[in-house]
C-alpha cells in the first residue's frame, strides 16, 4: 500500500518519554512532509537525540504515538539512524566495507549471511558518499570525516524513507564539516529522503533545511522556516547566550 501523497512522512502525537521519573521529551505534535529536511537544534540535554531515538523506534514511549509512512510493508516507513560518531579503536578488526554492511544485517535477520548483492549495494553507497577507495581500510583508521561518510552509507543501506542524522559534523575539522554537509544535502535531494538532522552547525541550517525545530528541556521551543530560524533573539532565548547574526551573500551568518 502506498501512502497518500499528502500524508506526512513522520507524525508525532502527544509523545512523551520519561526517564527516572522525569519527562525528557514532550512533543504535543510534530509532522514532517515527505522529502522535508528538518534541522533540530537546542542546548545539550534538551532532548534532540531522544527525539531521533523515538522516531527510530528505539525508545519506549510513556505516552503518545509515532507514525512513519513510506515504502515499507503496509505503507510503513523505513527509518535509518546515523548515530553520533564516537572514537573508534584504530586496531578494530573490521573494514569500512564490513562496517557499512552492518546496516543490512537487521533486515537480513538471524542465520542469513550477507550475499553478494548486499556487498555490491554497500560498495555503491560507499561510492555515493565518496569513500569507495577506503573499502578495505580498517574503520578505526579512518579520519573523522571518512568514518562519518561510512556511517551515512551504513544508514542508507537500510533503504530508508526517513534518514536521521545525529550531529554528523561533531569533532570534525572545518573542511570535513563542509564536505559532510554538502554530501548530506546531495544525498537528501538525490534519494528524495525525509531527513531529520540534529546539529549545532547553525550556519548550515538555511542552506540544508526547510524548517528548524528548537528544543528546550525536552519541549519544542519553536518551529520555523529555516530562513527565519537564525534570529538573534530567538537563538539567545534558546541557548541562553547572546548571538549576532549578519547577512553575508544574501545568507544569514551566526557569529558567536
Amino acid at each position: 500500500m502506498t501512502p497518500a501523497a499528502d500524508s506526512p512522512a513522520v507524525a508525532l502525537t502527544d509523545v512523551r518519554v520519561v526517564r527516572q521519573g522525569r519527562a525528557v521529551l514532550d512533543i504535543p505534535r510534530l509532522e514532517l512532509a515527505r522529502g522535508e529536511f528538518l534541522g533540530v537544534i537546542g542546548p545539550n540535554g534538551s532532548g534532540k537525540s531522544t527525539l531521533l531515538a523515538v522516531v527510530a523506534g528505539r525508545l519506549r514511549l510513556a505516552a503518545g504515538r509515532v507514525a512513519v509512512r513510506g515504502s515499507g510493508r503496509g505503507g510503513r516507513g523505513r527509518v535509518a539512524l546515523a548515530a553520533q560518531m564516537t572514537a573508534l579503536d584504530p586496531r578494530l578488526p573490521i573494514s569500512v566495507l564490513e562496517s557499512v554492511m552492518v546496516g543490512a544485517y537487521a533486515e537480513l535477520g538471524l542465520l542469513r549471511r550477507p550475499g553478494p548483492e548486499v556487498r555490491a549495494r554497500a560498495r555503491e553507497l560507499l561510492a555515493l558518499v565518496g569513500v569507495a577507495h577506503l573499502e578495505n581500510r580498517p574503520i578505526g583508521r579512518c579520519s573523522g570525516g571518512e568514518a562519518q561518510r561510512a556511517a551515512i552509507a551504513r544508514a542508507l543501506l537500510r533503504r530508508p524513507d526517513v534518514l536521521l542524522l545525529d550531529e554528523p559534523t561533531s569533532a570534525l575539522d572545518w573542511r570535513a564539516r563542509r564536505e559532510i554537509l554538502e554530501c548530506i544535502g546531495e544525498i537528501h535531494a538525490r534519494l528524495g529522503l525525509t531527513t531529520l538532522m540534529v546539529t549545532h552547525e547553525l550556519n548550515a541550517l538555511p542552506v540544508l533545511c526547510g524548517r528548524v525545530l528548537a528544543l528546550r528541556d525536552g519541549r519544542p521551543a519553536w518551529l520555523r522556516p529555516a530562513r527565519e530560524a537564525l534570529d538573534p533573539q530567538r537563538l539567545a532565548a534558546t541557548f541562553d547566550v547572546p548571538f549576532t547574526v549578519l547577512a553575508h551573500r544574501d545568507r544569514p551568518v551566526v557569529l558567536f
Partner: protein, 275 residues
Amino acid sequence: MDLLGLLDHAFMRHALLAGAFAGVCCSLAGVFAVLMRLTFIGVCLAHAAFAGGLLAMVFGLDPLVGALALSLGSAAVIGPMADRGDVSPDTAVGIVFSAMLGVAILCIGLLPGSRAEALGLFWGNILTVSARDVWLLGGTALAALAALGLFFKEIQAVACHREIAAAAGLPATAIFYGILCFTGVTVTACLPSVGGLLVYSLIINPAAAAYQLTYNLRRMFLLAAALGVASCEAGLLLAARFDLPAGASIVLVSSALFVVCATLSPKRRDRAVRT
C-alpha cells in the same frame, strides 16, 4: 622423557584434550572481552564461578552446578547494571567481583575439614581432569564454534561497535548479554581443569595476542583459538618435560606468546607510520 610416550597415559590424553578445548573456548570468549574492552570481566566471572563452586560444596551439592549458577547470575547482573548508566561498566564489574570474593572467602571459612578440594577449584588441576570435565569442555567449545558460525555477522557487529549495531537495528543488548553468559559458561567449564585463577590468563592472553596480528575478525578468532590451544598444549608438554606445575606453565606460555605477537605486530608498525 619421550613426549609421544606421554600419550600412553590416560591422564595425559585427557589433559591434552581438555587443554585443547579450554584453549578454544577461553580464547573465543577472550576475543569478545578484548574487543569490548571488558577484560576484567574474565576475572570477575572466574571468581563468581569459584564462589559458586564453594557455595555448592558448603551445601553438599555438585560444585559445577553452583559455579554455573553464580557465574551466569553475575553475568546477568553486570550487563543491566552497566547498561542502566548508574555506574560505569568497570564499576559494575568491580562491585560484582568484590561481592563474589566475599562469598568465596566466607564459604572457605564455613567449609568443614580439609580445604584441598576447595582450593583445587581455585588453582585447577588439568592433570587430574575427569572424563566428564573433558566432555563438558568439548561441548562448550563445540557450542561456541557453532554459535560463532551461525551468528557471526551479529557477533561481529556488536563486538566491534555495540552502539553502531544498535543504531542499525540489531538486538545489540540481547547479543551482548548472550556473550556475557557464554563467558560465564566457559569459565565454569574450565573451573575443574584450568582453575578459577588461571582461566583469566587463558581468556585474555591468546585473544590479546591475536588482536595484535590482524584487522580481520575471522582471522582474529582463528588466531586466538590457535594461540589458546598452543598455550595449553605447549604448557602441558613443558610441564611434563621439566616437571613443572601445569597451570603455571600454560599461563607463562600464553604470556610469552603475547609478547612475541606484540613485538611482531603489524599494527605497531602502522601506529609508528601514523605518528
